[in-house]
């Protein structure tokens, strides 16, 4: 799961882990059906960033709802990962 870094003002501290095709499916869902909730930056490295009006807690809640509802074998691996310190 891509995170939002220092430029966006939003920090996404969660790492998800699970069955690879299900992880890819979730990524694909964010990039297509949830496109309106993210934007892509091409400067630096290309990744998805949450839009400014998005809230990380609400976004994570929606992600977890999708994972449970669609029976994806994905779980939260790290809840407080600091991408800036890796």
């Amino acid at each position: 799961m891509a995170h939002a870094g220092p430029n966006s003002g939003i920090y996404f501290p969660v790492v998800l882990n699970g069955h690879t095709p299900h992880i890819k499916k979730l990524e694909s869902l964010i990039k297509t059906q949830w496109l309106d909730r993210t934007f892509i930056t091409r400067a630096g490295w290309k990744t998805e960033w949450l839009r400014e009006n998005e809230d990380t807690e609400a976004f994570l809640k929606d992600l977890m709802n999708v994972i449970i509802d669609r029976h994806y074998r994905i779980e939260i691996y790290i809840r407080d990962y600091d991408f800036l310190k890796r």
């Binding site: 069955h19 690879t20 095709p21 299900h22 890819k24 499916k25 979730l26 694909s28 297509t32 059906q33 496109l35 509802d69 669609r70 029976h71 994806y72």
Partner: protein, 381 residues
């Protein structure tokens, strides 16, 4: 014993596509050229092109815009070095059956020589030849095709290299082609908005679209915002190639098991095989098989898109192992890989051998499904 059970996914109580379906009704929108000018001026790409012309000091003469005239067909010359040969079959088909209507004819495109005054046909000879021959055959209410004044769009030039380039532009090079979706929309609107059922092909297409809509599936234009909504599909050519009963089964399956997903293009070749190969082998496609396939897709891949990604990778590995090089991917691989995997996972429903043995290597007793990612295959162990 097949263990990959399909588990229900909650269905959204509101399907916005019922109101947004672009094929359900005319948009009712009209635009002026003023609207279009504003639209282009808003585009960076357009502004970049304009700036390049201005920087080079290039402006254009309105007198060079093509002119319109009515010219007797007998006075128009066809330059055979520019135009294609006469397509007898095309002309015969054009007037074949009850479809021909003179209002569908288009103007000829010509170069008019400023020195001789003669019109040289750049495009439209099939139409011109058809009309002249129809007059000759007594199919029009006039006697002499040579004096029939036919609409011509022309430019004044002796430069035949210009005419050659113009022929290329008129016939596709540099011209924006009509998308398959636009073809579909035209056919559907002829039926739904205009109530015109004269064209049997239009009627058949509209029926196919109706079948999709019955199952909450909707044809939309590629790259439109609607193409991200569950139940929408953009692969119109694949859709058009399936029969009504094949589409009924395919969309019914999608709506029952994957109503929360966009319709993936691999749905069409899978159900083409599930109907045609099964029918040839006189094997019934059972409800159990359809549900177990849905369970397999859901449990192992999440959706058909991820399944196809896995299948493409497996085809690559299989072809390298068998032939030493990569074979080109095509949708003919989708159904065999899916059904071979189904058997590998313990599926007990009957599958035609023509699908199970396709792309099978008897020497190593492997098929493409044997080359799926190990993470998938481990679940079959």
């Amino acid at each position: 014993m097949f263990k990959l059970k399909y588990q229900d996914v909650s269905r959204s109580p509101i399907n916005t596509m019922h109101n947004l379906n672009p094929l359900a009704r005319s948009s009712g929108k009209q635009a002026t050229y003023g609207d279009r000018v504003e639209q282009l001026e808003d585009s960076n790409l357009w502004q970049k092109s304009v700036r390049a012309h201005l920087a080079a000091g290039r402006t254009f003469d309105v007198n060079l815009i093509p002119l319109i005239a009515k010219v007797p067909l007998g006075e128009i010359i066809i330059d055979e070095d520019i135009q294609r040969r006469l397509e007898v079959k095309h002309c015969s088909n054009t007037i074949g059956g009850a479809k021909f209507d003179p209002r569908y004819l288009s103007a000829l495109i010509c170069a008019k020589s400023p020195t001789t005054g003669k019109y040289i046909s750049i495009d439209g000879q099939q139409s011109g030849s058809t009309v002249a021959s129809m007059v000759h055959a007594g199919l029009f209410n006039t006697d002499d095709w040579k004096t029939l004044e036919y609409p011509v769009q022309y430019v004044v030039t002796d430069d035949l290299s210009f005419a050659r380039k113009a022929f290329g532009i008129v016939n596709g090079k540099g011209k924006l082609k009509q998308s398959k979706y636009n073809e579909l929309r035209t056919a559907v609107f002829c039926i739904r908005i205009d109530g015109n059922t004269d064209d049997e092909d239009d009627v058949k297409l509209e029926r196919k679209v109706s079948i999709a809509e019955t199952h909450d599936c909707f044809a939309v234009e590629q790259h439109s915002g609607l193409a991200r909504k569950p139940g929408t599909f953009t692969h119109i050519s694949l859709f058009m190639a399936l029969s009504e009963s094949e589409l009924d089964m395919a969309f019914g399956w999608h709506n029952k098991y994957f109503h929360y997903e966009i319709v993936h293009n691999s749905l069409f070749p899978i159900f083409r095989a599930l109907t045609r190969d099964f029918e040839a082998a006189k094997i019934k496609v059972t409800d159990t098989l359809l549900e177990e396939i849905a369970g397999l897709i859901q449990n192992l891949f999440g959706d058909l898109e991820q399944f196809q990604n896995g299948a493409q990778s497996a085809v690559r590995q299989w072809s390298r192992a068998r032939y030493g090089y990569d074979v080109k991917w095509s949708d003919e691989y989708v159904a065999p890989v899916l059904l071979q995997l189904y058997k590998k996972m313990g599926g007990e429903e009957e599958i035609p051998l023509s699908l199970l043995e396709r792309f099978h290597d008897p020497k190593t007793n492997t098929n493409i499904a044997s080359f799926l990612d190990q993470e998938i295959l481990d679940l079959a162990a």
